[in-house]
């Protein structure tokens, strides 16, 4: 009766306490990424897009570094910064909430609009009800948060994939395209964003 258990454990799942399975900074898990690839079809394409972007200079080159003991804290901070860059929600507007999952760590975060700006709930349990889901990578978040990459280009290179109803995706896409530009470019609401087809 132990077949499927062993089948899965043969493939390299490291089993830790339930809490630490929740995100990959404490326990990277191939099963987590694999399940994600089913729920969000082709989510794992982001993984490939990231190393391609590193090779082509879209993202910073890979470097050899020692394990960062504060990796989670740094990523949480970057996600918060992203939220700040999104700016306050327009009064009465239909500012969308959305959730993001990082494919390298399976870290979920929710971005919820408020009048003071987007509130970012890092290490969420999963996507919020009805949220558009963005699948991306920690290195992409870093580039977006420090302004070296804009959201439109990120999607063009497959570094962000959108999932959810088409109309909702468009709202989130517009929001990100407007707010998350490259640092040297002017920010603001004047840019117009062409509708794009859904990412999936």
């Amino acid at each position: 009766m132990v077949v499927p258990f062993v089948i899965l454990t043969t493939m390299g799942t490291t089993l830790y306490a339930p809490d630490s399975r929740a995100c990959g900074y404490h326990d990277p898990s191939h099963v987590a990424a694999g399940v994600l690839n089913w729920i969000y079809p082709n989510a794992l394409y982001v993984r490939t897009a990231v190393w391609r972007a590193q090779d082509s200079g879209i993202l910073p080159k890979r470097t050899k570094k020692a394990r960062d003991l504060f990796a989670y804290q740094r990523m949480a901070s970057r996600l918060q910064r992203l939220g700040q860059r999104l700016g306050p929600a327009k009064p009465g507007g239909a500012a969308p909430s959305f959730s993001a999952v990082l494919i390298d760590s399976i870290l979920w975060s929710r971005f919820v609009p408020s009048s003071e700006g987007y509130r970012v709930e890092v290490h969420a349990k999963g996507p919020g009800p009805g949220d558009v889901v963005l699948v991306t990578d920690g290195r992409v978040v870093q580039a977006l948060s420090d302004g070296s990459l804009d959201a439109t280009r990120a999607e063009d290179y497959g570094l962000i994939r959108f999932y959810g109803p088409a109309a909702d995706q468009r709202k989130v896409r517009r929001l990100l395209a407007s707010a998350l530009r490259v640092a040297s470019e002017p920010t603001g609401e004047s840019a117009s964003v062409a509708d794009r087809s859904p990412g999936q």
Partner: protein, 650 residues
């Protein structure tokens, strides 16, 4: 008609008439004439016109998983049966991680061997199958997966299954419609892609027996198409519909043949993760003593063995074969399949092909049948739907190990203080089958008679024959098959009795893979059993010896009898090599210098290439990363032929 034209016409007409008459005079060749001339022994001018022996080698993978397998799906494999077959046939596909991938050359055959246990469950769950979701518990799991708790749910499912507490709706057992539906898809896909003469798609599955984490898997392959294989559903390992005991699998195989008049065989998984129970000597894992039924059944149903695959090589181990400098190749010897139990040296003899072949000699003497009289093949056991075994085109064991910069440095498995690193995955292997044509019947029959060999990914062509009268002059024939079949028996067969007191001779010939490395050497591995006085005495000590019989260059064995290494042209910085060493082809006729007619023995050929870059070296160059500590920078691909056996006359 002008006179000139009349003359020309007449000449033409009369010539044609003469030709027709001459043609009518050509009758069949005279009866009784054995050869055209004394210098040419063929009966017809064309040597190939009456050729009946297998003259082509066909390349395939007998062990591939698609998204129908529970574990493959759980690790993110989104490629199904169609993609697996299209890829094997040589088409370009997009991998589950978005990479375009294509084989360097198409395969000739494929066995999709998804796990029978819970076949098809995972895709159905994720797709929200209505029948599954009719159960409130399954619906809750589905909702939680959608909400991001996929890992927790997956592990809960596993735990409940292992305790037999899954809701009935979630149990994809052979008596359920979803299980039958998954099998039906498998059979239909094989029928769709089976193209006799061009590509063979076998119907198959993997019986996934695990005994406390010790791997006892078998791949089951049908000779038949959907008309027969579709009459059954695969055997599982869970009672009451299945069993983890191979004896029960063999009974099931027999019942399939009885019911359908079809044919089926089983290939044991590489035994290196069985912690010693794959090739028992005295008793099975459950304490049941080996008996006549066991040895007979195993010899009937398991004519082949998977000697090499992605999870390590299973031909030989350095502890068992301390004199063999090539025995430590892609060795996995840390523990069992889930690393729940550590490996100890006393387990190794029950895991490796060479030792098993030796054990078979002893069991033959004791019980009258050799249960380990198997031919050897290689296959991938890939769970990506992509049968990749070539070093420069390796897509890993499962989706988590498709190409990415850190795949060799990320641990593959970790448990109980034991670790298998990502770099330890092996880009291996392939099954090579000598058959007269490419269709199910011809390939299956070749597997049954063991006229097969395995490679670690290269496509070197190897011929191996045994007899009593081969001479060096036989090597002059550029097509060794003619003299091989005439004067001896091919790989997988038994030496015919000899009426003379002399040693057997073996003819071996190898051509390198056209896009691969040159050949370093050909060896013949002999295993034999001492007798304890009588001709068929049991309990005799088992021995082995590796003989270098052909090698490149002008190397000479040293004082220790060992041939010096061939050298190494691998450029690690560029992941390249040159064929400036080694030889494109090697051949030898070899007579056993240590033959004792009273001793049972087997002989198989091992062909070894010169060093070429390992997949981890290709990764280092392509991704600009360091090669992981411990990972070899080069590999010497190899082929293992099926053995030829010698049994003393009574």
């Amino acid at each position: 008609m002008p006179f000139k034209a009349l003359v020309l016409f007449s000449v033409f007409f009369l010539s044609a008439l003469a030709t027709m008459e001459a043609g009518a005079q050509l009758g069949p060749p005279p009866e009784g004439k054995k050869a055209l001339s004394s210098a040419y022994t063929g009966k017809t001018y064309s040597p190939y016109a009456e050729r009946t022996f297998p003259s082509q080698v066909f390349w395939g993978d007998t062990h591939l998983h698609t998204d129908l397998s529970f574990d493959a799906g759980a690790f993110g494999n989104r490629l199904g049966l169609d993609d697996a077959y299209r890829f094997a046939r040589g088409e370009e596909v997009t991998s589950s991680t978005g990479l375009q991938v294509r084989l360097s050359r198409p395969l000739d055959f494929l066995v999709v061997s998804d796990h029978s246990d819970n076949m098809g469950f995972f895709p159905d769950l994720i797709a929200g199958d209505r029948n599954l979701l009719s159960d409130p518990q399954v619906k809750e799991w589905y909702d939680r997966i959608q909400q991001g708790e996929g890992v927790d749910v997956a592990l809960e499912l596993i735990g409940l299954f292992s305790q037999g507490e899954l809701p009935d709706t979630a149990m994809y057992t052979p008596d359920t419609k979803p299980f039958r539906s998954a099998w039906q898809k498998t059979v239909e896909a094989a029928e769709k892609y089976n193209d006799p003469g061009n590509f063979t798609a076998f119907v198959g599955f993997e019986w996934t027996s695990l005994i406390k984490g010790d791997n006892m898997h078998r791949v089951v392959i049908f000779r038949d198409g959907g008309a027969k294989a579709g009459q059954i559903v695969p055997y599982t390992t869970t009672p009451p519909f299945g069993s983890p005991n191979p004896r029960d699998l063999w009974k099931w195989l027999e019942s399939y043949e009885d019911k359908t008049n079809g044919e089926v065989l089983a290939i044991p998984h590489n035994g290196n993760l069985s912690n010693g129970i794959m090739f028992p000597m005295d008793s099975q894992y459950d304490g049941t003593a080996l008996d006549e039924t066991y040895v007979t059944s195993r010899s009937i149903w398991e004519p082949l063995y998977e000697a090499t695959q992605i999870k390590g090589d299973g031909e030989a181990h350095p502890f068992l074969s301390s004199e063999d400098e090539f025995a430590d190749y892609e060795t996995w010897d840390v523990g069992n399949l889930d690393l729940s139990q550590a490996k100890s040296n006393d387990m190794l003899a029950g895991e490796y092909a060479r030792e098993a072949l030796k054990r078979g000699l002893a069991l033959d003497a004791e019980l009258g049948t050799n249960p380990y009289k198997f031919g050897m093949i290689g296959s991938t056991d890939s769970h990506t739907s992509l049968a990749t075994a070539q070093e420069d085109n390796f897509f890993g064991k499962h989706v988590g190990y498709e190409p990415k910069p850190d795949r060799m440095s990320h641990p593959m498995m970790k448990a109980g203080g034991r670790t298998l690193e990502g770099w330890q995955l092996a880009a291996s292997g392939l099954a090579a089958v000598w058959a007269p044509e490419n269709n199910r019947e011809a390939l299956f029959d070749a597997m049954e008679r063991k006229e097969v060999y395995g490679t670690t990914g290269s496509r070197m062509v190897v011929r191996f024959f045994g007899g009593w009268n081969f001479t060096d002059a036989d090597l002059e024939n550029r097509q060794p098959g003619f003299v091989g079949y005439e004067k001896g028996v091919p790989m997988g067969a038994d030496l015919p009795p000899s009426t003379e007191a002399k040693a057997p001779t073996f003819m071996v010939f190898a051509l390198r893979d056209p896009i691969g490395g040159n050949l370093d050497r050909i060896q013949i591995v002999k295993g034999w059993m001492e007798t304890d006085g009588g001709l068929f005495g049991s309990g005799g000590k088992l021995h082995e010896k590796v003989y270098d019989v052909a090698w490149s260059g002008d190397r000479e064995p040293g004082p220790d009898g060992k041939l010096p290494p061939v050298g190494n042209t691998v450029d690690v910085e560029k992941a390249n090599w040159t064929n400036s060493i080694g030889a494109p082809e090697l051949g030898a006729v070899w007579t056993d210098p240590d033959f004792d007619p009273n001793q049972r023995a087997f002989y198989y050929a091992r062909v070894i290439e010169i060093p070429t870059p390992r997949w981890s070296t290709y990764d280092a160059v392509r991704f600009g990363v360091d090669i992981s500590k411990g990972a070899p920078t080069a590999t010497q691909e190899r082929a293992y032929t099926s053995p030829i056996w010698y049994t003393p006359r009574q």
